[in-house]
């Protein structure tokens, strides 16, 4: 079976790749485009470590076929910092030590950004429900939730 010529936009840049029909977006991001921020945790949509946005919608990139993104817009954690300046969420995660091993962190950052774009002033309950599909096995979530709440407050003030 011949490969498919994929043309899509990742973090604002037009990219091209030759992909197999059954290759996931996660595999193409990591193995062909050298964007290794999105992680493979479970590979079945349960852990959220591979979270990206597709046309602005939060999804698990392990459950998207790369070919589905033809002509669409993908955003990954690599697109969050602008010109060497961290996104307020990234900065808060650092300040509050909202991570330990770091595997889940890119997924949390991408998911939290998607939340704050829709709802700049979420309650703690809303943050916890929105992030329920992102699993962290180290921190116990409290620091993550606090970092998201603090970043939201800072972004509202900015």
């Amino acid at each position: 079976m011949s490969k498919i010529h994929l043309t899509t936009t990742v973090n604002g840049d037009a990219v091209e790749a030759l992909v197999e029909a059954d290759e996931t977006l996660l595999d193409v991001l990591r193995n062909q485009l050298a964007l290794t921020g999105a992680k493979e945790g479970c590979g079945s949509g349960d852990c959220g470590a591979c979270s990206v946005t597709l046309d602005g919608r939060l999804v698990c990139s392990c459950l998207v076929l790369a070919v589905e993104t033809q002509g669409r817009r993908v955003e990954t954690v690599e697109g969050m910092a602008k010109g060497g300046v961290l996104h307020p969420l990234q900065q808060k995660f650092l300040e509050l030590s909202a991570l330990q091993c770091g595997i889940c962190t890119p997924g949390f950052l991408v998911a939290a950004r998607a939340l704050l774009e829709k709802n700049p002033d979420p309650t703690e309950t809303e943050v916890r429900y929105w992030l329920a599909g992102n699993l962290c096995r180290c921190t116990g979530y409290d620091k993550i939730v606090r970092a998201v709440m603090d970043a939201a407050a800072e972004m509202r003030g900015a």
Binding site: G43, G45, G48, R57, A132
Partner: protein, 291 residues
């Protein structure tokens, strides 16, 4: 594996009908891609239907809603009218998976995956929803309760695709609700799911009632006796006892890791009582908001 993403339903039907090997329709992929990865299905052809405009929109026509089978749960939730008029259908659809899963999962996929525990299906059954099916012989309609025949089995013939769901025009003083039991608060598969749709008269007496039950039999059920048990009542205790008994009598569950047969039968009655109160309060309140 070959991948096709046609932009017209006729083309998708042609591809599906003429496929030599195993062909699968891809909507949100939250079941199909997981099954492909674990080699439960190994399709030769995957037909992505998300570029077919008719399957991607929500249209209100004369008070009825036509929901494209490939509209995501997140999009349903953001539709202001749907949430107001069919809160039970929307809360059922939104119980499926995480935010990430909601960004992809669809009503068409939830139905055609044909799981007995699919959350949106009992709510759609209660709502009296129909599906529009496109196939090689043209189009037909089917009630949602007639689509799933058993685990992984549907009434769709080769080449047929569920294009859209039609939710009927609302009458005044009517509302729906859905509840499911899971052992935790979020993101699990229903042990029992129960959807109900009620219509009241101005005095608060129930004049129409439909109940759908999930995860208690080989397929999601329309429980006609449960609806009949409360018609003419205002949810007095004898009516609720009849409802509970009818819901339990309809169950033909299995034992599995999520619950025993006895537990499922018990919970079906409990959920039936609880959900009917939610729908009743919503139906009363619907007099105050125009639908």
């Amino acid at each position: 594996m070959r991948y096709e993403a046609p932009d017209r339903i006729e083309k998708a039907v042609d591809l599906l009908a003429s496929a030599a090997g195993e062909a699968r329709v891809l909507a949100g992929g939250t079941d199909l891609i997981v099954q492909m990865k674990s080699e439960i299905v190994e399709p030769d052809l995957v037909i992505d239907v998300k570029r077919i405009a008719e399957m991607r929109g929500v249209v209100e026509e004369g008070g009825a809603f036509r929901i494209g089978a490939a509209v995501s749960g997140a999009e349903l939730k953001e539709h202001p009218r749907l949430r107001k008029v069919w809160p039970g259908v929307i809360e059922a659809a939104n119980l499926i998976g995480s935010t990430q899963v909601q960004g992809r999962a669809t009503l068409g996929g939830n139905l055609c995956n044909a799981s007995p525990a699919a959350d949106s299906v009992p709510a759609l059954i209660a709502a009296g929803a129909k599906v529009i099916i496109a196939g090689p012989a043209g189009r037909r309609e089917l009630a949602v309760e007639d689509v799933v025949l058993g685990p992984r089995k549907t009434a769709l013939a080769k080449g047929e695709i569920v294009v859209a769901f039609v939710l009927p025009k609302r009458v005044p003083l009517a509302a729906d609700a859905y509840l499911r039991f899971i052992p935790r608060t979020e993101m699990d598969i229903a042990v029992v799911g129960c959807g109900v749709d009620l219509t009241l008269d101005p005095a608060g007496k129930i004049i129409a009632a439909r109940m759908g039950l999930g995860a208690v039999a080989a397929r999601p059920l329309l429980v006609g006796e449960a609806g009949a048990a409360i018609i003419g009542s205002s949810l007095d205790e004898p009516a609720l006892a009849r409802l509970e008994a009818a819901a339990r009598a309809a169950c033909r569950p299995i034992d599995d890791k999520r619950g025993t047969k006895e537990f499922r039968v018990q919970i079906a009655g409990v959920l039936a009582r609880r959900v009917v109160h939610i729908a009743y309060e919503r139906a009363k309140a619907s007099a105050k908001v125009s639908t």
